[in-house]
Symmetry: C2
Subunit: 338 residues, 2 copies
Amino acid sequence: MRATMLYAPGDIRVEDLSEPKILQPTDAVIRTVAACVCGSDLWDYRGINEVSQPTPIGHEYVGVVEAVGGDVRTITPGQFVVGSFFASDNTCPNCANGYQTSCVHREFVGGCQAEYVRVPLADGTLVATDGAPADEHVAGLLACSDVMGTGWYAAVAAEVKRGDTVAVVGDGAVGLCAVIAAKELGAERIIAMSRHESRQKLAREFGATDIVAERGEEGVARIKELTGGIGADAVLECVGTAESMKQALPSTRPGGDIGFVGVPHDVAIDGEQLFFSHVGLRGGPAPVRRFLPDLIERVQSSRIDPGKVFDLALPLDEAAEGYRAMDERRAIKALLRP
Amino acid sequence: MRATMLYAPGDIRVEDLSEPKILQPTDAVIRTVAACVCGSDLWDYRGINEVSQPTPIGHEYVGVVEAVGGDVRTITPGQFVVGSFFASDNTCPNCANGYQTSCVHREFVGGCQAEYVRVPLADGTLVATDGAPADEHVAGLLACSDVMGTGWYAAVAAEVKRGDTVAVVGDGAVGLCAVIAAKELGAERIIAMSRHESRQKLAREFGATDIVAERGEEGVARIKELTGGIGADAVLECVGTAESMKQALPSTRPGGDIGFVGVPHDVAIDGEQLFFSHVGLRGGPAPVRRFLPDLIERVQSSRIDPGKVFDLALPLDEAAEGYRAMDERRAIKALLRP
């Protein structure tokens, strides 16, 4: 099968690999209908995370079940399914508490920019759509497998509720999906921090009521100005850098909450600053599985359309161009069709 | 009037100062019935916080209102009142959100180990008891002015709810009051981390179901052992050191919460560790004012007795001995009677 491999920083190739097989009785193998390139893949692509050998890449996927192991009960061949980047049993105490990405049996689902994917713990990981989805919903369902689930978690972690003022730090696909989440959870005012016109436009389309192009101290000052000097009720930190966290903390009102979903790189939080801020902080790899049934329903009913974050669609063989376009910020997010 | 002054590390004196007066029309002056020494006073006493000149000290107080300014409406002379260490207007947006210690007009109420105290913003800061309190309730009401309010906030910030397993890091007065709070909020299992027999005993009396004497990695391992390998639902961090935070974070289950109320000294939280822990974190100077009406009622109805944290009572003139006893951990908390 055709599969995307990262050889070294900047070096993406699509090659022939052997097809994945059922290894455990709880596995499924799916035929990928769509995959995509993630902002977090760029950490590897840019050489910020070390790459020591050619590695299959990609962790977002939707597809049709080809085969299941003997212990799989709820997932059956032929179903169209959406999964998460961490496989989970969905029964352990952490799963029961809604944190499937901390499942005691979790396994990373990698190498998804490929024609076929092996998904461990299929019953606890995959969620079938309501029948075969309409073509126009495929991109949205793919978004649910990571960026929409992650944006949703940012809003849930920040305890967004009806009437809130929410600021979103980061205008990548996750930040844009976080705008959708804030809107769906009833936020009254949604401030998107973005300096890119096309992303500002999409943020508005998704429900942003205000755009703040300033960053750093000026960005904080603008948020304060828009919130009666107090700060936002909830701030969704969708980047994962020291700068973005420095943006988020003083933009949040005392007693407000930050949901942080960008994987932190060299971020240290000053205990004293956090203490006196009165701000609540929760982050982590999004437990996408918790939200999948609800998100799939919202996409299939056309209530939300997170598929719009894909502003580039390429055949799988052109994956390298997808990486380049995202790296150069020519594209928000690239969809790959095997 | 007699008042306690900190001259230098280890040098506490009780001296004659002039009585405080009404300076603002929103002030009250109260005659102190009881004051006390706080664990956070020890940071100054030990020279960890710099003391550059002789300074009146103490921020916990109950007393009888002597005089009020012309704009004070709800507080009247003769009332027995409990206040917080931060004066608040109780009307600004932060107060309305329940974070009176982030009041936009907040003022620290200092110099309370004295015969009289000036309390700014009296209407928003002081809460009158239901009539003159019984003698046996005075110590408990005094505890509400800080340590009981702070322990309560730790439990609220950690979102303790019915049936939870709660671990309390720190066996000082705040940690012990946090045990009371966890119990009152319905925790089923309360693990007190303490290696001091007298404090273990009081923790059990307050509702602790388990005692963990181990610290560091061994302490974490014991908490995990007691919680099915997952960690506690809520951890109340009542110390404020790098060590105590290192104790708290891995003791909390994924999706659980830490309430941290010890003023952090040189605490830096690793963003990546916090991220992958899925733990929620909220701290800060406790908005005691939010809880005072409820806590006063619980004390006056003898439902809780946080006054038991005072295992030493001295005349104000012997304040220096109160500091020594707490510094040497001979006493949990010293009450001072002017």
